[in-house]
C-alpha cells in the first residue's frame, strides 16, 4: 500500500519544515514532536522517508555501508557491487528490549557453529535513515539515554554477552509524545536538535480537507499517491538541492551575533541552543535556495531550535513559544 504522500499533509507546517531541515542536515540532532494523539505526527515522519531518494549501499551489507565506507563495518563486507536501497525508517516499539535495540548475539550461528556473531539491532537498521519513536516520553529512561547517546556520537558500541562490537549508527532521531501523558527529563529534551508543537488545526476547512484526503487515500492509495507525485518530486528536488548547497553556505558575523543575542534574551541554557540555531538557519537557507544565511532564516527557526531549552518558570505560565516570539520582537523589532 502506498504511503500517505508528504505533500498531501494538510497544515503542520512547522513540523514539515523541521523534518526537511533534518533531512538536509542530519547532524542537527533529531526532532522532537509534541502533540495530541491523532494529529498526523507519525504520518509525516513516515511520509518523509517514503519521499527520500534511495541510497546506495554495499550489496548485502547488514550495516548499510556506503560505497566509500566499504569494509569498515564489523562484517567482512567486501562485495564489489553497490545496490540502491530505500532510506530506512525504523519504528522503535515502546516495550523494546535493549537486545533488540542495540543488537545481540546471533542465536542461529551460536547454536549451529558455536561461533559468536553479532546480530544487528534496530540502531544498525536505522543507519543513514530515521529512527522514529512514538511516545518517547513513555520509553524507559535507560533506553532513551542510550538512544540519545548513539544519536549524538553516530556510533553504537556493544560490550556485552562476550561481544565487543562497534558500528556506525547515524540516524535522525524523531521522537513524538504528548506532554500531558508524562514529560521528558529536561536533560534529554536538550539533546534533541529541534522541537515542534503539533496541534489539530482549528479551521474547519482544514479539518474537512484532511478528512477528504484521508478518505481518498483510503479508497485508492496508489491513485492518491499518483496525484501528489509531482508535489512530492518538487520537495525531493528541494532537499537534494539543499543538501548540496548547505556545505558551501557561510554564516555571516552579524547573523552569528543575532543568534547569541537571541539565546541570551530567552535565557536558553547551554551552547547547544546557539549551535543548533545556526545549523538550522543554515539548513533552512539552503532549503530555500538562498545565497546567504540571513536574519529571517534565524528568526524562522528560532522557536523550533530553542523552545525546549528554556528554563521552566513555575510561576510563569506563558508558553515557551510566546516567550521566544517576545524575545525576537524585543531584540530585532
Amino acid at each position: 500500500m502506498a504511503r500517505f504522500p508528504f505533500s498531501a499533509i494538510v497544515g503542520q507546517d512547522e513540523m514539515k519544515q523541521a523534518l526537511l531541515i533534518a533531512a538536509v542536515d542530519p547532524t542537527i540532532g533529531g526532532v522532537m514532536v509534541f502533540g495530541d494523539r491523532g494529529t498526523g505526527k507519525s504520518t509525516a515522519a513516515r511520509a518523509l522517508a517514503a519521499l527520500l531518494p534511495p541510497m546506495s549501499a554495499v550489496e548485502n551489507c547488514r550495516f548499510a555501508c556506503a560505497p566509500d565506507e566499504k569494509g569498515t563495518c564489523p562484517d567482512p563486507c567486501t562485495s564489489g557491487r553497490t545496490r540502491k536501497r530505500p532510506v530506512p525508517v525504523v519504528d522503535l516499539p515502546l516495550g523494546a528490549s535493549e537486545d533488540r535495540v542495540v543488537g545481540a548475539l546471533d542465536l542461529e550461528r551460536a547454536l549451529r557453529t558455536g561461533e559468536k556473531r553479532f546480530e544487528p539491532g534496530l540502531l544498525a537498521k536505522a543507519h543513514r535513515g530515521f529512527l522514529y519513536i512514538d511516545e518517547i516520553n513513555l520509553l524507559e529512561d535507560h533506553l532513551v539515554d542510550l538512544l540519545l547517546d548513539v544519536a549524538a556520537s553516530g556510533e553504537n558500541v556493544v560490550e556485552r554477552e562476550g561481544l565487543s562490537v562497534r558500528h556506525r549508527a547515524k540516524f535522525v532521531l524523531i521522537g513524538s509524545g504528548n506532554p500531558e501523558e508524562g514529560e521528558l527529563r529536561p536533560q534529554l529534551l536538550d539533546r534533541f536538535g529541534l522541537s515542534v508543537e503539533v496541534r489539530t488545526p482549528d479551521e474547519m476547512e482544514k479539518r474537512v480537507e484532511i478528512m477528504k484526503r484521508c478518505g481518498a487515500h483510503d479508497r485508492d492509495p496508489d491513485a492518491f499517491a499518483g496525484q501528489w507525485a509531482e508535489e512530492d518530486a518538487k520537495i525531493l528536488k528541494q532537499i537534494e538541492r539543499g543538501k548540496k548547497k548547505v556545505a558551501s553556505l557561510e554564516v555571516p558575523d552579524d547573523v552569528l551575533e543575532d543568534a547569541a543575542t537571541l539565546c541570551l534574551a530567552v535565557g536558553a541554557d547551554g551552547l547547544r541552543g546557539e549551535l543548533t540555531l545556526m545549523r538550522a538557519a543554515k539548513a533552512l537557507a539552503a532549503l530555500n535556495g538562498a545565497r546567504a544565511v540571513r536574519r529571517e532564516h534565524l528568526i524562522a527557526v528560532a522557536p523550533m531550535a530553542l523552545r525546549h531549552r528554556l528554563r521552566r518558570d513555575v510561576l510563569d505560565e506563558t508558553g515557551s513559544t510566546t516567550r521566544i516570539e517576545r524575545a525576537i520582537e524585543e531584540s530585532f523589532g
Binding site: 516495550g95 528490549s97 554477552e161 501523558e181
Partner: protein, 558 residues
C-alpha cells in the same frame, strides 16, 4: 426501527456497531466493549459466530506477538526457526483482547504500531474496567472507531444483530462537504482533538449507509456515526465551547437560495449533535464536570503508575547479578547460556549445562516507587497568614520538579475545627494551582486532626508502593482537640498521641517551625514524631522547598 434519540438502547447500539464493524473492518479498526455482564457476552457470542477471532492473552511476549525466533524449535533443529507473530497470523482477522484494561502499555504500543504500519487487523477490546481511570490503553482506544458502554445494563431488549444483506462499502458515495463539515464541527464541539475520530465517523456513516443499502449517506447515518464514534470520545459539553453565533443578518435576511443553503448545515449539525449528546452516558457528563476526563486521555502518564521495587509489571530482564533486592530471571538466564553450550562443553569436557556469570539475568519491575510529599500546613490564625503564601510557593516549586524526581505532592490544611485534604496526591501543577488559590486561613489550630489525616494519607501511599514523606508547617501550638472542641489541654494531649502514632509508623517526616517567635511546642512535636526539626522564621518559598528537598533526599537514602 431505529430508536429515537434519547432512548437509545446500549445493547442495540453495540450490536449495530458490531454489524458495522463487520461491513468495514479495515476502515473502522474495531470495537471497545466496556462493562462485563450478560449483555457483553451476547455481543461477543455474535461476533464469534460471524467471524474468525484470535484471542490475545495479556501476558503475550514479544516473540509470540511480533514473530521472532522459536527457541524450543531452534534448539531441536540446531538452526534458527522463525515463528510468525500473532499479528502476522491474524492478518485480515479480528483480535479479541479480554480484560483489555490490564494490557500493558508496551504491548498496546506494539499493536498500535503494527496498525499504523498497515497491519490488516481488527481489534475487539473487552474493557472490564469499573473505575473511570481503568480503561484500555489510549493508544488502542484511539485507533478503534466504535466505543460501546454496556456496563450497568440490566435488561436485554435487543438480542440479535441488525439483519439483512448489506452493500459493500465502496458502493456508498463519499460524503459531501456539508456532511464532512458537520462531523468535523461536532467533533470539535465535543472537545475531541484527534482527527482520527471524525475520519472514523465518516467511515461509520458510510458503513451504516451500506447496511441500509443506500448509495449515499443521509442524516440517519450521520447520527449513528456521531453516537457510536464521537459521543463516547467527548471531553466537554457542546455548550462549553461557544461556537461563533450565526450573524443575525442571516436570520433576518430574506430567504433567498443562499440563505437557505447557509442555514442547512447548521440544522443538520444541530440534529446530529443532538443525537450524539443524547447518548453521552450520564457518568461521562459527571466526570467531565468533576474534571477527571482530561484532554488526551488518562491513566497513561508516567506519574499514574504505582509500582514498587518488589512487585508490579514485569519489564524485560537485564544482565546483572542478583542481590540488592534483584531476583534472578531463570528462563532468561538459561536462554542466554544455551547458545554458548557447544563452546563451553569443548572447554570443560563435561555435559552439564554451564551457566556463567555473564549469563545471569535479573528480573526487573516497573521501578516507579516514587515518593509522595505530604505538606501538612497549619492555616490557623496563630500561624502567620503570610506563611501560607510561602507554603503554597514551596508546593509549587516541589511540583515543578516532580517530573524529575518522579514524586507526587499532596496538601493538607488544618484550621478551624478540623483538617482538610486540599490537594489529593498529584503531579499536576495546574490542578495544584487551583487548589492552592483557594486555601483559606484563620481560626483555631486542630493539630491532632491534621496529624491524623496526614498519617492516613501516608499509610495509603505506602500501601500503593510509594514512599511518603511528611512535612509539617506549624508553630505546634494546638488549641482544638481531635473532636473539634476548643481547649489547650485536651488539644495538646491529642496532638501528642497522634504525633506518637505517626512516629511509631516510621514515616520520614520533618517539622518546620514557621512562627516568627519560636517556642518549644514545634520541637516537642518533632520529637514525638521522631521527625527532623527546622526553625525557619524568615523562610521564603525557595528556602522551604530546599529544606524539604534536602530532608526528603536524605530520608530516601538507605
Amino acid at each position: 426501527m431505529n430508536p429515537a434519540p434519547g432512548s437509545v438502547d446500549p445493547l442495540a447500539d453495540a450490536l449495530l456497531a458490531l454489524r458495522l464493524y463487520l461491513i468495514a473492518p479495515r476502515q473502522l479498526g474495531g470495537i471497545v466493549l466496556r462493562g462485563h455482564g450478560p449483555a457483553r457476552d451476547l455481543v461477543v457470542e455474535q461476533l464469534l459466530e460471524k467471524t474468525d477471532v484470535r484471542r490475545l492473552p495479556l501476558n503475550i511476549d514479544d516473540e509470540r506477538l511480533l514473530g521472532g525466533t522459536d527457541l524450543a524449535a531452534s534448539l531441536a533443529a540446531g538452526k534458527t526457526v522463525h515463528q510468525q507473530g500473532l499479528i502476522d497470523r491474524a492478518r485480515g482477522d479480528t483480535i479479541l483482547i479480554a480484560m483489555a484494561e490490564r494490557l500493558s502499555d508496551g504491548i498496546a504500543g506494539k499493536i498500535a504500531q503494527a496498525i499504523d504500519g498497515g497491519a490488516d487487523i481488527g481489534l475487539v477490546l473487552l474493557d472490564d474496567g469499573i473505575e473511570p481511570d481503568e480503561a484500555p490503553s489510549v493508544a488502542l482506544r484511539e485507533r478503534v472507531a466504535l466505543h460501546c458502554d454496556l456496563s450497568g445494563l440490566s435488561k436485554l431488549d435487543a438480542t440479535a444483530m441488525p439483519k439483512g444483506k448489506a452493500d459493500a462499502l465502496d458502493e456508498v458515495a463519499p460524503l459531501d462537504d456539508t456532511q464532512l463539515a458537520a462531523l468535523a464541527r461536532i467533533a470539535s464541539m465535543l472537545g475531541i482533538a484527534s482527527l482520527r475520530a471524525p475520519i472514523f465517523a465518516v467511515a461509520t456513516a458510510r458503513a451504516h449507509a451500506a447496511l441500509k443499502r443506500r448509495k449515499s449517506v443521509d442524516e440517519k447515518d450521520l447520527e449513528v456515526a456521531a453516537r457510536l464514534v464521537l459521543a463516547p470520545r467527548a471531553t466537554q459539553f457542546p455548550e462549553a465551547e461557544p461556537e461563533p453565533p450565526p450573524p443575525p443578518e442571516d436570520e433576518q435576511g430574506d430567504r433567498s437560495d443562499d440563505g437557505i443553503e447557509e442555514q442547512q448545515p447548521s440544522t443538520l449539525e444541530d440534529r446530529v449533535l443532538q443525537a450524539a449528546t443524547a447518548s453521552i452516558p450520564p457518568d461521562i457528563l459527571a466526570r467531565i464536570a468533576a474534571g477527571t476526563i482530561q484532554r488526551g486521555g488518562q491513566g497513561q502518564g508516567a506519574g499514574r503508575k504505582r509500582h514498587s521495587l518488589t512487585g508490579g509489571r514485569p519489564r524485560p530482564p537485564r544482565p546483572g547479578a542478583p542481590g540488592r533486592g534483584a531476583r534472578i530471571a531463570l528462563v532468561d538466564t538459561l536462554r542466554a547460556a544455551i547458545p554458548w553450550q557447544p563452546l563451553r562443553r569443548r572447554e570443560a569436557q563435561h555435559g552439564r549445562v554451564q551457566v556463567r556469570k555473564d549469563d545471569l539475568r535479573i528480573r526487573r519491575f516497573e521501578q516507579r516507587a516514587r515518593s509522595l510529599t505530604i505538606f501538612c500546613v497549619d492555616a490557623s490564625g496563630s500561624a502567620a497568614l503570610a506563611r501560607l503564601a510561602e507554603a503554597k510557593g514551596a508546593v509549587e516549586l516541589m511540583l515543578a520538579q516532580a517530573y524529575v524526581t518522579r514524586s507526587e505532592v499532596a496538601l493538607i490544611a488544618f484550621r478551624g475545627k478540623g483538617a482538610e485534604l486540599l490537594l489529593p496526591p498529584t503531579r499536576s501543577l495546574t490542578r495544584a494551582r487551583r487548589a492552592l488559590a483557594e486555601l483559606p486561613g484563620g481560626g483555631g489550630t486542630p493539630l491532632a486532626s491534621g496529624i491524623r489525616m496526614a498519617t492516613e494519607l501516608a499509610d495509603r501511599a505506602r500501601q500503593n508502593g510509594q514512599t511518603p514523606f511528611l512535612l509539617f508547617l506549624t508553630d505546634g501550638r494546638a488549641n482544638i482537640a481531635a473532636d473539634g472542641a476548643p481547649g489547650r489541654g485536651q488539644a495538646g494531649e491529642d496532638a501528642e498521641s497522634a504525633a506518637k502514632i505517626l512516629g511509631a509508623r516510621g514515616f520520614d517526616a520533618l517539622v518546620i517551625e514557621i512562627s516568627p517567635r519560636p517556642g518549644k511546642d514545634a520541637a516537642a512535636l518533632a520529637k514525638w514524631m521522631q521527625a527532623g526539626f527546622l526553625a525557619l522564621p524568615h523562610a521564603d518559598a525557595a528556602a522551604l522547598h530546599d529544606a524539604a528537598d534536602a530532608a526528603r533526599q536524605s530520608a530516601s537514602r538507605p
